[in-house]
Amino acid sequence: MKITRAEVEHVSRLARLALSEAELDSLTGEMDAILDYVEQLKTLDTEGIVPTAHAVPMENAFRPDEIRPGFTPEQALANAPDVAESAFRVSRIIE
């Protein structure tokens, strides 16, 4: 076993993703099979190989720090599930 049901449950909390009992069961098996498959990478010697984060070698992209038009508060809030005045509203986090 590459991964246990308890580990899958732990990862679901890291991912902020609630999973049903049935999902935990099926994901444990599926993730185990996929992790078993990717195990083949370990057979490759990558000593001294520089990792590729990005296929096109690039320097940092800078732009001038100047004021540009952005969304109005109304536009920014238009898709929000809950709004109070000009803010996104969520449940109380400090008692």
């Binding site: 679901s12 994901l27 996929i34 083949q40 370990k42 990558t46 929000a80």
Partner: protein
């Protein structure tokens, strides 16, 4: 003459001569979508009202003599592109009601030319899938055989162009999501070099792999649409500031002196016999056209799928963290507290494949596993990229299959994620290497399903890809076949 049977280049001539109007063209497509769209479930949103208004504006530009190459041409876009005032679902329940407040750069560029955005196309949720069965809006069907998948994740884009419901479409390709459906539906699809087309305003899946590209009826149309969307964009810090060549000018048909490589690792066990024969025939056609076809090696090919499913899922788990029910998207109303609200909203909003990839990516990035999985995959990515750079020392372009088999049946692979992932084996390496690749029709299987060939080019050399593809298309008639639909 049936308007919806014409290519974009053919429509261009008739629009410019005022033989037909942009409104007539748009209405012909809207009628076609009404008549045939629901049968293959291609569209998530049809932009009926705005499309007619855009067509009227296009007619004004035509009358004023200010038409651009795309003016008046109805183009449909994968529902991953933000377009102002239109819903962008990304095939997900979590964005089911999201109305875009801005245009993606690719959308802005085709709008500048007064193209008509005719609708938003079905897709695998968050572009994660190879069959378009992962959409919250139902699966797309293959116009060549309604019991088969159209491929994915740009399944709606390929099926729509194949079924002649738009003049062309835009898709995105992270591990083959333009090329594989293009091959399954017998249309032309091109994934440009990473950095050639801006990703600004495109919902992110795996940011180091995602790229925007055209899906069209033929190679000339592909060149036309790529021309419009390619080029540097300061809004995308990974877009590359390099000149865009004149792609139409590269379509000369002359292949004398061209060197084409066939990677031996792509012609292995598991490759369908009909696909193998079609590729051998394509190689023979290329030789007849004066190209030199030789065998080359990409030694790390077998590791590409494993490498991809670690890198892509890791990046996805990070990108999709933004869907938390706070600023936009679905919010669960049964939560006990804020953390529970995040967890329940994401549980209710995401489908099974998206959850699977978020979980796999979160695991690969988690404490204690980062070096063994994510970092290891990034090192293997270097080896895979180097394979291509070495091969391109010997040849100008590579000729390969797009997928191991023609389109599979709906439901055939839904219960086996790993088998589904393995169907991307020939397309994933170009994304990992960041280079350009395209799919074009090259035959049919014994049971009448399309087969595509893949050309993989040097980084930023889309011109050679289009040139090589165009010559093949001129010498064959596969691209002229249409599904009975």
């Amino acid at each position: 003459m049936t308007i919806y049977d014409l290519t974009m280049a053919e429509l261009r001539t008739r629009l410019d001569s005022r033989e037909i109007s942009a409104v007539e063209v748009t209405n012909a497509y809207l009628d076609r979508i009404t008549a045939t769209g629901p049968d293959i479930n291609t569209f998530i949103t049809v932009c009926t009202d705005t499309a007619v208004a855009e067509a009227q504006a296009a007619d004004q530009a035509l009358a004023a003599g200010t038409a651009a190459p795309l003016t008046g041409l109805p183009i449909a876009v994968k529902d991953i592109f933000n377009a102002t005032g239109i819903r962008t679902t990304c095939g997900s329940r979590i964005l089911g009601n999201f109305i875009s407040p801005y245009d993606a750069t690719a959308i802005a560029r085709i709008k500048e030319q007064r193209a008509v955005i005719i609708g938003k196309l079905n897709m695998d949720e968050f572009a994660m899938g190879s069959s378009n069965e992962n959409s919250a809006f139902g699966p797309v069907r293959n116009p060549w055989n309604l019991t088969h998948v159209p491929g994915g994740s740009s399944g709606g884009s390929a099926a729509c162009v194949s079924a002649r419901q738009a003049a062309a479409a835009l898709g995105t390709d992270t591990g083959g999501s333009i090329r594989q459906p293009a091959s399954y539906c017998s249309v032309v699809g091109l994934k440009p070099t990473y950095g050639r087309v801006s990703r600004y305003g495109v919902v992110a899946y795996a940011s180091s792999l995602d790229q925007v590209g055209p899906i069209t009826r033929d190679v000339r149309d592909c060149a036309l649409l790529l021309q419009a969307i390619a080029g540097y964009d300061p809004a995308d810090s990974t877009s590359v500031n390099t000149p865009t060549p004149d792609y139409q000018a590269s379509l000369t048909g002359d292949l004398q002196g061209l060197r084409i490589g066939m990677p031996q690792e792509y012609f292995i066990e598991g490759l369908d016999d009909d696909v193998r024969k079609a590729l051998e025939q394509a190689a023979a056609t290329y030789r007849d056209l004066g190209a030199e076809v030789i065998e080359v090696s990409l030694p790390h090919t077998a590791y590409a799928v494993a490498c991809y499913y670690l890198i892509a899922t890791a990046e996805a788990s990070s990108n999709l963290a933004r869907y938390d029910g706070v600023r936009y998207g679905l919010r669960a109303d049964n939560a006990e507290n804020l953390i529970d609200m995040y967890m329940q909203s994401r549980a209710a909003g995401f489908g099974a494949e998206v959850k699977r990839r978020i979980m796999l990516g979160t695991y690969a990035l988690s404490s204690g596993y980062y070096d063994a999985y994510y970092l290891k995959a990034q090192k293997v990515r270097t080896l895979i990229r180097q394979d291509f750079l070495d091969a391109f020392e010997k040849v100008d372009t590579l000729l390969t299959p797009v997928a191991p088999t023609p389109a599979f049946a709906l439901g055939e692979k839904v219960n086996d994620p790993l088998q589904m992932y393995l169907s991307d084996i020939y397309t994933i390496p170009a994304n990992l290497a960041g280079t350009c690749a395209m799919s074009l029709p090259c035959g049919f299987s014994a049971n009448g399903l399309p087969i595509g060939l893949q050309l993989i080019g040097k980084p930023f050399d889309e011109a050679t890809l289009l040139h090589t593809a165009h010559a093949f298309e001129q010498a064959t008639e596969w691209h002229q076949r249409k599904p009975e639909f």
